[in-house]
Amino acid sequence: MATESEGEEETAAAGVGGKLTGSPQLAVDGGDLREMAKKAAWSVSSCKPGNGVVALRDDNLDTYWQSDGAQPHLVNIQFQRKLKLQLVVLYVDFKLDESYTPSKISVRAGDSFHNLKEIKTVELVKPVGWVHISLSGTDPRCVFSPSAYSETFIHTFMLQLAILSNHLNGRDTHVRQIKIFGPRPNPVPRQPFHFTSREFITYSTLR
């Protein structure tokens, strides 16, 4: 599973996020998870010229997106089809960005713009580095209380990150990178379960 700095942030049951401070390492379990949003359509509510949405996906922590409008600032990610998502990771740096650093982020999911529902809110406290926001247990269709029925993923067409407020009451915000993670597909097609033992994996595919 993803090794995340979640411990600080998450209380087991509550759908409300805890306080996040981020970590310097993007510690995501590459074996289980893969980045899902490479083919998605990314858009932002506003941006300063030269600091556009591209900076969020360029794998460069020196470039950042700077918003240029009213709060809340929105980052919209639309997928080509309904995907299982597990984790959102964003890179912010209080030391560099100070009042531009987001402090309250709301994660919304749905089919499209008019169908979004908030699934999680997190509060960041002077974060420096990668902030992991787990989407487990946040499926809006989850009927049972989270403790009894943990849904690891959410199934959605669209994700929206809304930056509701910044540190020191800054108006605009800087975000340096965003990544979205979901589960890897089973390399063997049409199987309900993954294979774990060597005997099975050896014979499971040809190369």
Partner: protein
């Protein structure tokens, strides 16, 4: 001056001083323009990897050897249609393919690259007929899947053909040699005997090579003879074609030639050139006239036969020359031979070397030398002329030495025969094993390989092939072992290393794989195999984008390397880019239709896209090529199950299980099919068996849990779900199992609450 230049050129080529050779040759062509000189110049360019130069200077030439060299240049420049029309002019449908076996082989390659498989097969077969020791042709036939059994191709009839070819040459040689009996043993240069005889020494090269002197119309067959020389001892067909070996002999010949020219008919054998010169003329003719007759006829007629045989070939070239004139001509011949021969020479050379290897006789040593010379020679003509000339000289020198020689020749003949038989035996074993492994009858292939002698078995090529056979049997440990041995014995070999990298990928040996990749890159940065290994490294780390880029690089480096295309396809599918995946797999199949991995890849792709009929079709094609693969059978069964043809699917699974007892997957799939048919008890039985095979496989327990859930045996279901979770499956499975467990309890909870 011409001869002098030719000699220097040959010696430069032999010593790989290409710039020198090219410069001198250009001066030669300017001073003495002739097609033979052009051929020599083209050969120089080809040696220096300047196929485009050779292409331009040979464009439009008509002599067979020129056409052959032109075809080689076109082939290297990837101008396949021009190469084809050079070898097989469209308005002369009956013209003979130049350079016999090598020409047929080249044509075969062209046809197979342009998708005309039947024609390719036909030409490869012809190449083998002309030269039964032409391994590369047999190899291509195996790859195309149409090889006959090795016993058919490398049998006694073949031995006789080879022998005839050699005897033609050797008879001439013998004649030459006869002049100086000491020639055989001493004649290191083999050329010497020949040369000693005459200015036409060029041909003598051939002669010494085949001291066996079985007279045949071999001279005429000169083409076939040389071509028949097994390319076996050259590392790759193209090498032979380019007659990489050529330079040394030429030089030597040139030398001898020069010596002869110098008026001393001496070859090491001390031939009295003087005498020979005049006789040469008609001796040659005599030789040219008769071709065979050796051992048992007297040397005179024999010689004449050979002479006539050769003469026919060389008539245009040499016969007319005598003495000084001859020098020029010889040089011309020499040059011509040089440029043309490669394949034939190589073959004869190879043959010689083979015999050398067998260490049969002193003559084999001569052979070795002769071989080299031969390599350079113009296939037929020079050989023939040389032999004729040498024979002529021999004849000229005196009949009685010839008689003596005939005795020696007989002995040599039998040794030649033994040598040929041994070589054919070796090729038979290797050919059969290779053919079986191309048909994916790997167990049989391994058996045949084990029949090889120890020294042959412990070579890079054989060990790689054995490793590949084990890989096809999904025995990755053994495969790893053999490939490692192969690498230790020949660390510079790249062939087969792409398969080794896949083996390591399957074994998940990251360290070994990255080490292999680095080593291969350092050996040759431009080889597709090295980049395939690098790509597999990235793929093992699940970095599919970088892996894809690396495989694409391999494709750029060699678009005719099918496996690179297939690996690209696999990476596209991992990235869920199905369109490009299909394109890659289809490119792989265009290169090699029998690359069953690509058929399999397409099948999996269509399975994912839920186009089940397509999937079934592709799996069947793959199975058709490799009928013993249990993995393929299992996948075909999965496709059939998806098509709801459960009866067929079950049958397929049973077949897969019996094809490879160690493969647990068909049993698992069978259980799944039974579950979907609601035959719960049988499904559970299968899974119980499976637990014995793979006790730590989470999916087995999860499936059992599902079955018990269906049967409403909740406690057992919980038990097995728990077991499955204990084995730490990935998050997706955990979620599913947990939710299944929740659903189990729900009804109870609700009841309990009431």
């Amino acid at each position: 001056m011409e001869t002098l230049m030719v000699d220097r050129i040959h010696s430069s080529l032999r010593l790989f001083m290409h710039r020198n050779a090219i410069f001198l040759c250009e001066r030669l062509c300017a001073e003495f323009p002739s097609e033979l000189n052009l051929q020599l110049l083209a050969t120089c360019y080809l040696h220096n990897n300047q196929a485009y130069c050779a292409y331009h200077i040979l464009k439009g030439t008509k002599l067979p050897q020129s056409r052959y060299l032109f075809a080689v240049s076109c082939f290297q420049m990837n101008l396949l249609s021009e190469a084809e029309s050079a070898l097989c002019p469209p308005n002369e449908p009956n013209s003979e393919v130049p350079n016999g076996a090598a020409g047929h082989y080249l044509l075969g390659l062209i046809y197979s690259y342009t998708g005309r498989r039947l024609a390719a097969v036909d030409h490869f077969m012809q190449a083998l007929v002309v030269d039964p020791l032409f391994w590369a042709a047999y190899e291509e036939l195996c790859i195309l899947g149409s090889a006959e059994e090795a016993n058919e191709c490398f049998n006694d009839a073949a031995a006789i053909r080879v022998q005839q070819q050699y005897s033609a040459e050797s008879s001439l040689q013998k004649l030459n040699l006869a002049n100086d009996n000491g020639v055989l043993p001493s004649n290191l240069g083999d050329t010497s005997p020949r040369k000693s005889k005459q200015l036409y020494c060029n041909n003598t090269r051939d002669i010494p090579a085949h001291p066996y002197g079985m007279a045949t119309s071999a001279l005429q067959q000169g083409n076939s003879m040389p071509s028949s020389v097994a390319q076996y001892d050259t590392p790759s067909p193209t090498v032979t074609q380019l007659s990489g070996v050529v330079p040394p002999p030429l030089c030597r010949n040139a030398q001898i030639y020069l010596n002869a020219m110098g008026g001393e008919v001496t070859t090491r054998l001390n031939v009295n050139a003087a005498n020979q010169v005049p006789r040469r003329k008609y001796v040659d003719e005599a030789k040219l006239r008769k071709v065979s007759g050796r051992l048992f006829s007297d040397s005179g007629p024999r010689r004449s036969t050979r002479l006539s045989g050769e003469a026919t070939a060389n008539t245009n070239l040499n016969v007319s020359q005598v003495g000084g004139n001859g020098v020029n001509h010889s040089s011309a011949r020499f040059l011509g031979g040089y440029s043309t021969s490669s394949s034939s020479k190589m073959s004869s050379a190879a043959q010689r070397s083979v015999t050398v290897r067998k260490g049969q006789t002193l003559s084999t040593e001569n052979f070795d030398e002769g071989r080299r010379h031969e390599v350079f020679d113009d296939l037929l003509r020079l050989d023939n002329t040389a032999t004729t000339s040498s024979a002529a000289s021999n004849v000229a020198d005196g009949r009685w030495p010839a008689q003596d020689r005939s005795g020696g020749i007989l002995a040599q003949d039998s040794r030649l025969m033994d040598g040929i038989r041994d070589l054919l035996g070796l090729l038979r074993t290797l050919g059969e094993a290779f053919r079986l492994s191309c048909l994916y009858r790997c167990q049989d292939a391994l058996q045949v390989y084990s029949k090889l002698s120890e020294k042959q078995f412990n070579t890079g090529w054989v060990l790689s092939q054995v490793g590949k056979a084990h890989f096809e049997l999904v025995d990755h440990f053994e495969s790893d072992r053999y490939f490692e041995l192969a690498r230790r014995l020949s660390p510079y070999t790249l062939e087969g290393m792409d398969i080794y990298s896949t083996v390591l990928y399957h074994l998940k040996e990251e360290m070994k794989l990255s080490y292999l990749a680095q080593e291969l890159i350092s050996v040759d940065r431009l080889s597709p195999q090295a980049w395939c290994a690098v790509g597999n490294c990235y793929a093992l780390q699940k970095d599919h984008e970088t892996a894809l880029k690396t495989f694409q690089r391999a494709v750029h480096l060699d678009p005719r390397f099918a496996y690179a295309h297939t690996l690209c396809g696999h990476e596209y599918v991992a990235l869920e880019d199905f369109e490009n995946g299909i394109k890659s797999y289809q490119s792989a199949l265009q290169v090699d239709e029998r690359h069953y991995n690509s058929w399999y890849g397409l099948g999996v792709l269509y399975l994912r896209q839920e186009k089940f009929e397509f999937a079934e079709h592709h799996f069947r094609r793959a199975l058709h090529i490799n009928p013993r693969s249990s993995v393929l059978m299992c996948y075909l069964g999965m496709a059939l199950h998806a098509l709801k043809r459960n009866g067929d699917a079950l049958e397929m699974m049973v077949q897969a299980i019996s094809a490879d007892r160690k493969n647990p997957l068909p049993m698992y799939q069978k259980a799944q099919i039974l579950l979907s048919l609601e035959r719960y008890e049988e499904a559970l039985e299968e899974l119980e068996h499976l637990i014995a095979f793979a006790p730590r496989e989470s999916s087995v327990y999860a499936l059992m849990g599902n079955i018990y859930k269906q049967l409403n045996i909740h406690d057992k279901a919980m038990f097995y779900f728990g077991l499955a979770l204990d084995l730490k499956p990935p998050a997706a499975d955990v979620a599913m199992i947990k939710s299944a467990m929740e659903k189990l309890y729900l009804p109870d909870e609700l009841e309990g609450d009431l």
